[in-house]
């Protein structure tokens, strides 16, 4: 006993240092693990409250800019609607109009685009119908996937997260691959598993494939920046430049796939 006390008075600082560092590293490892069951995150009550209030305040400062963005988006949608109208005017029957996808508009009020594993916090949660696994997009392209929800908030794993996998297809070419963020550059994704026989060109558009139940088909992701078939390989090495700057993400849409659960049930029934 005596010697333990002696040990502590002599090396107490160092022991406490080790103890606190150990606690920190447990937090770090746990948070980066599979389950994000951790209390300290921005969707907990205190910090979310403060951040949201502050965000409300600062959002007045750039209302003008945001309104212009909204207007641009509206203008594009109106144009699209008009062209669709004239297209369907010549058709004999309308397609099945039961929408497969619904969207929940939400606002990003906390984000990181700096580290290796990036997250967004949205001001919509399970009370508004947000569930884990829903896709998140904005008018320019794919943003991420909802990984955790509380009553009023949800945490979205960004496309710029080391664990993120998105199924991506090449526009107008029948081939698709897997998108991952491997670089440190927050504008570049890797597209894997594109076979070498595909005529892939620089500048080709990469969109969502629609195979994953999370995102609808043909949502913009980016353009091909670099493509090369390494010696003796069957697959391309492809770098994709993201369609937009992740610092700019503010208003987003959460995608609710109404038939997604049915598809999953069907697929699971076979694997059993």
């Amino acid at each position: 006993m005596q010697s333990i006390i002696q040990l502590f008075t002599r090396y107490g600082t160092f022991l406490l240092f080790l103890l606190l560092e150990a606690a920190c590293f447990i937090l770090i490892v746990k948070y980066n693990g599979e389950q994000k069951e951790i209390f300290i995150s921005s969707s907990n009550r205190i910090s979310a409250g403060i951040l949201q209030r502050y965000d409300k305040f600062t959002s007045y400062l750039n209302l003008d800019d945001r309104m212009r963005k909204m207007q641009e988006e509206n203008a594009r949608l109106v144009a699209e609607l008009e062209s669709l109208k004239s297209f369907y005017a010549n058709q004999e029957s309308f397609p099945d109009s039961i929408g497969q996808f619904q969207t929940i508009p939400a606002k990003v009020f906390n984000k990181s685009t700096f580290g290796n594993n990036n997250w967004f916090t949205l001001d919509r949660g399970s009370n508004h119908g947000v569930r884990e696994g829903m896709g998140v997009i904005n008018d320019k392209g794919v943003v991420g996937i909802v990984r955790k929800t509380s009553e009023n908030f949800s945490l979205v794993m960004s496309v710029l997260h080391r664990d993120m996998r998105i199924s991506g297809a090449i526009k107008n070419k029948s081939s698709h691959g897997l998108l991952r963020w491997k670089d440190s550059d927050p504008r570049i994704l890797d597209l894997e598993f594109i076979p070498r026989h595909v005529a892939l060109e620089l500048g080709d558009t990469i969109q969502t494939s629609g195979f994953s139940n999370i995102f609808p088909q043909d949502i913009m992701i980016g353009t091909v920046l670099y493509r090369e078939v390494p010696q003796g390989q069957n697959f391309y090495q492809v770098k994709v430049e993201l369609a937009y700057d992740f610092f700019d993400v503010d208003y987003v849409y959460i995608i609710d796939n109404l038939t997604g659960a049915e598809v999953v049930r069907l697929e699971e029934s076979i694997s059993q």
Partner: protein, 174 residues
């Protein structure tokens, strides 16, 4: 520690925390296309603590402040581990910088104690240690060492600019 001093420390804690998470955090994200910097000012809380602060208390304070910062940065443990390390290193740095006649009983590292250059030198060592540790833990592997050093460098320059400003504005020379 007398009550007036305690109130001062609590105010510092709150002001640095809020300034960091509400203002500096946004500046780290908002400028330019590739953000390679993260301006950190909150280590000033540890830097400013009186020289004779009990090291155990200092470590605990660093842990609490770091975790509070982490709560807003969505990075549990990363800021905390860096700040605990910084607090652990501080006595060694202070020991090395000790004036020949030793420290006064109530001395705290400041412009008045070290002079402007001396204080910035002290801050530079501490911030260098803090930022390098922070970005290393953030990457969690030394595979990205070039990346870590680059981020540390840019963040260091900007953070030091802020510290110099704060020192010139708020810290009396006598």
């Amino acid at each position: 520690m007398n009550p007036g001093n305690l109130a001062q420390q609590i105010t510092r804690f709150m002001v640095l925390l809020l300034f960091q998470v509400l203002i500096l955090k946004r500046m780290s994200m908002g400028w330019g296309e590739v953000a390679y910097w993260n301006i950190l000012l909150y280590p000033l809380f540890i830097l400013w603590l009186p020289v004779r602060t009990n090291p155990l208390i200092m470590l605990l304070l660093a842990f609490v402040l770091g975790l509070s910062i982490d709560m807003f940065y969505d990075s549990p443990g990363i800021h905390a581990s860096a700040l605990v390390f910084t607090a652990f290193v501080r006595p060694l740095v202070l020991n090395w910088m000790e004036p020949r006649e030793g420290y006064n009983l109530n001395a705290a590292p400041s412009r008045a104690l070290f002079g402007l250059t001396g204080f910035l030198q002290y801050a530079a060592i501490m911030m260098g240690v803090h930022l390098f540790f922070y970005f290393s833990v953030d990457a969690f592997t030394f595979v990205y060492i070039a990346d870590i050093l680059l981020k540390t460098f840019f963040s260091f320059v900007l953070s030091m600019a802020f510290i110099a400003m704060v020192t010139l504005i708020f810290s009396p020379s006598k």
